[in-house]
């Protein structure tokens, strides 16, 4: 199978490429990348369309099966979401590996890392292998499992991290829960460092969070909802930065939400602590104000915080304190979310809106360059997880995302590939939409 992607604006943050280039793909790899690969004999059927069927003969490169005209479109390394919940095994009513990876493909993601808080928990080789097998059979995109730090996510004993690593886990995390014991976190870091695996922490001091359901700020005071203070996150970030310094291990802070955390991480990076972190699109686009009206689609953990926090997150993305944008895609059923605010589960889905929300709220207003933004979705997660992905080069895997940065569309949760509908962006008009997603040279999703 040979595919030619022609005339697109190729953005590859890993190699600081941003120019109009053609890409020739064969057997799942990019084999040629240059200006005007095909000469002018290729007939195309218009912008974003492609010619299929009979093989076209082109100058110098031999026959191709398909030509995709990417004029006016961006072609970038396939997006990597290092923080999703696919819910399989155990909660297939919320999401499955098939539906979650199709949602990923629609959103322009070619790889996702699935968190271990499934049922059973991914704390053994058997569960990791189950996920990888299912992903191979039914997955639209590449799936990289994240293994548990502790058995059953209970925070008591280490999981068999060595075996999880051998089975294919790319990181360990007790996500959804923090490792509350500082001693156990220290040992987890030391142990994971033997395999150079990043330890991903859901940073939250459960005592400070108490039974909180929203950010502790003016909105929580106004609405009488129990608050989760920013310090609940930042206290844990501070502790773990010290432990990362002590152990020399690699720490990754999941879904940073508070200005204090960004400040601590930035400072630690200047001292050479091996820390990285991620932020979600919803924390970049929304604040605690979204909770007015008691909308449970504005309920997630960490909570939406203040406008000052949101600005600090954006600044962190700009100056590199924050490495990655990841969705924390957390599917829940309609009936679970259609409850009293404090009874509903935490979490929102994000795979099918992440790119467009980022483009709309950060790139189009000029806060981040397109290349900066795409780096947070591609080269940066690949670097942290040591994945052979996230770049465009001759010989590299043809995991590619083609999107129209200016196409406007209205979010309709009812049309999602995800099984769940719990998005805070339903009804939003966004600018920027995926046109096609290729995994190993195969088109796994394409706009009709």
């Amino acid at each position: 199978m040979r595919i030619l992607i022609k005339g697109g604006r190729v953005i590859d943050p890993a190699n600081t490429v941003d120019e109009i280039l053609d890409l020739l793909i064969e057997d799942g790899k990019i084999i040629q990348m240059s200006r005007n690969v095909s000469g002018d004999t290729l007939h195309s059927t218009g912008r974003g369309k492609s010619s299929k069927g009979s093989k076209s003969q082109t100058n110098g490169i031999g026959p191709i099966d398909r030509a995709m005209d990417a004029t006016g479109l961006v072609v970038c390394p396939g997006l990597i979401d290092m923080h999703v919940h696919l819910r399989q095994p155990g909660r297939e009513d919320k999401e499955t590996i098939a539906s979650g990876t199709m949602a990923a493909a629609r959103g322009g993601f070619t790889a996702v890392c699935c968190m271990p808080n499934t049922d059973p928990v991914n704390d053994t080789r058997a569960v990791t292998e189950f996920i990888l097998d299912a992903a191979k059979r039914e997955g639209a995109v590449q799936v990289y499992p994240v293994g548990a730090i502790t058995k059953g996510l209970k925070g008591e004993e280490l999981a068999e991290i060595g075996e999880l690593f051998e089975a294919g886990c790319v990181a360990v995390s007790d996500d959804g829960r923090p490792v509350m014991s500082a001693e156990l976190m220290r040992r987890a870091m030391e142990y994971a460092a033997m395999f150079d695996l990043p330890v991903i922490q859901h940073s939250e001091d459960l005592h400070l969070s108490g039974r909180g359901v929203v950010h502790e700020g003016f909105v929580s005071t106004d609405l009488g909802l129990r608050g989760i203070p920013s310090a609940s996150e930042a206290v844990m970030v501070a502790r773990d930065l010290l432990l990362a310094e002590l152990t020399g291990a690699r720490l990754h802070i999941a879904h940073v939400s508070a200005a204090e955390s960004v400040r601590l991480i930035r400072e630690a990076k200047t001292r050479g602590v091996r820390v990285s972190c991620e932020v979600t699109p919803h924390h970049l686009a929304l604040t605690e104000e979204a909770v007015h009206g008691f909308s449970t689609h504005a309920k997630m953990n960490p909570p939406l915080r203040s406008e000052a926090d949101r600005q600090a997150l954006i600044e962190g993305l700009r100056d590199g304190a924050i490495d990655v944008i990841a969705t924390d895609h957390a599917p829940h059923t309609v009936q679970e979310k259609e409850q009293e605010f404090d009874q509903a589960p935490f979490g929102v889905i994000g795979l099918e809106t992440a790119l467009a929300v980022t483009l709309t709220t950060l790139v189009h207003p000029g806060v981040l360059t397109l290349s900066q933004a795409m780096g947070k979705f591609t080269s940066e997660p690949a670097r942290i997880l040591k994945l052979p992905k996230g770049r465009i080069a001759e010989g590299a895997d043809a995991d590619l995302t083609i999107f129209d940065p200016t196409r406007e569309w209205e979010v309709d949760a009812g049309a999602f590939a995800s099984k769940s509908r719990n998005t805070p962006f339903h009804g939003w008009r966004l600018k920027g939409q995926t046109v096609a997603t290729l995994v190993a040279g195969k088109v796994v999703w394409e706009a009709s």
Partner: protein, 309 residues
């Protein structure tokens, strides 16, 4: 002239004119309540459901009597909050009730936003009788009514609300209602019970009782939930009472004719001394009596044809 919405969910959502209308209507209702035969046909053929997810004596009884004096059929449903988790969802309970065509559903629920949740899904008028720590508008309305009745006006009066502001729906509703009616509101309590950024509600904040009650016209004491001690919010009843309990001695810091209010039920000897609760300036029993008139007014305005929109 009537209420704009089908529901009464919050004081924040009421206009000054709507508050005045409710208070004025309550004045006529109070006259009914003092008749020998306390029954008017205003809500004959109408159905009122009291849906209580938290134990309550005074509020539930008050709505029940108010409904009966207006000739409505009143049904009480009590659901213990401990059974909520295993029981029917609020949505399903709401839809089930809706199928029985009630005209008004009065709901008390431990979750903030629960009344609004029902209001969005039911055609019936919803009255919020307390949703978590969010709002308790009928309490604030009866408090305003009581102050206005006693002083003759609301505008320009100063009030100090004392106690666990963080967990109090009574405080939130009163802050909004009193400010709308031109009153100046202070709050005071242990720092652990004052919610973050409470000053942004437009109130003056104190942690010293004497300073908080100086120069105010009304002191409103809040009930202390004694289980807050286990949560680490105060060290002991003894110390709470010493720092924030209202006694005759402490009242020397206040105006000599200051009015004392409490939404009840009171912890005698904790937040309020017995001789203050029973003293000459205590309005605590007036509040209870006026609660009937205000709730009759609400039921009448929402279900008795006093609605415009």
């Amino acid at each position: 002239m009537g209420l704009a919405g089908k529901d009464l969910l919050s004081m924040r959502g009421l206009t000054v004119d709507e508050i005045r209308l409710i208070l004025d209507t309550a004045e006529s209702m109070k006259e009914v309540a003092r008749r020998d035969i306390k029954k008017v046909p205003a809500l004959r053929g109408k159905t009122l459901i009291n849906l209580f997810y938290e134990p309550s004596t005074r509020t539930r009884t008050s709505f029940e009597i108010a409904g009966k004096w207006l000739s409505a059929d009143v049904i009480n449903i009590s659901i213990s909050s401990s059974s909520v988790a295993k029981g029917e969802s609020l949505k399903d309970t709401g839809l089930t009730l809706q199928a029985m065509h009630p005209d008004v559903v009065v709901i008390r629920h431990p979750s903030a936003g629960a009344a609004e949740f029902l209001a969005r899904r039911l055609a019936a008028s919803i009255i919020n009788a307390g949703d978590g720590a969010h709002e308790h508008p009928s309490q604030a309305l009866l408090d305003l009514f009581t102050i206005r009745e006693k002083v003759g006006r609301l505008e320009g009066l100063k009030v100090a609300i004392i106690g666990d502001i963080a967990h109090s729906r009574v405080a939130r509703s009163n802050i909004h209602g009193m400010q709308k009616m031109g009153m100046e509101v202070r709050v005071a309590g242990p720092r652990t019970m004052l919610p973050r950024f409470v000053e942004r509600l437009g109130v003056e904040v104190f942690t010293n009782l004497d300073r908080a009650i100086a120069e105010v016209d009304v002191i409103m004491m809040l009930r202390l939930q004694t289980e807050r001690q286990q949560a680490g919010l105060f060290p002991s009843l003894r110390e709470y009472s010493r720092l924030f309990g209202l006694t005759v001695e402490r009242l020397k810091a206040a105006k000599s004719n200051v009015l004392i209010m409490h939404p009840g039920p009171i912890n005698r000897g904790v937040e309020i001394a017995p001789d203050v609760a029973d003293g000459p300036y205590s309005l605590i029993l007036n509040q209870v009596e006026n609660g009937l008139a205000v709730r009759m007014a609400l039921l009448y305005l929402l279900a008795g044809g006093g609605q415009t929109g």
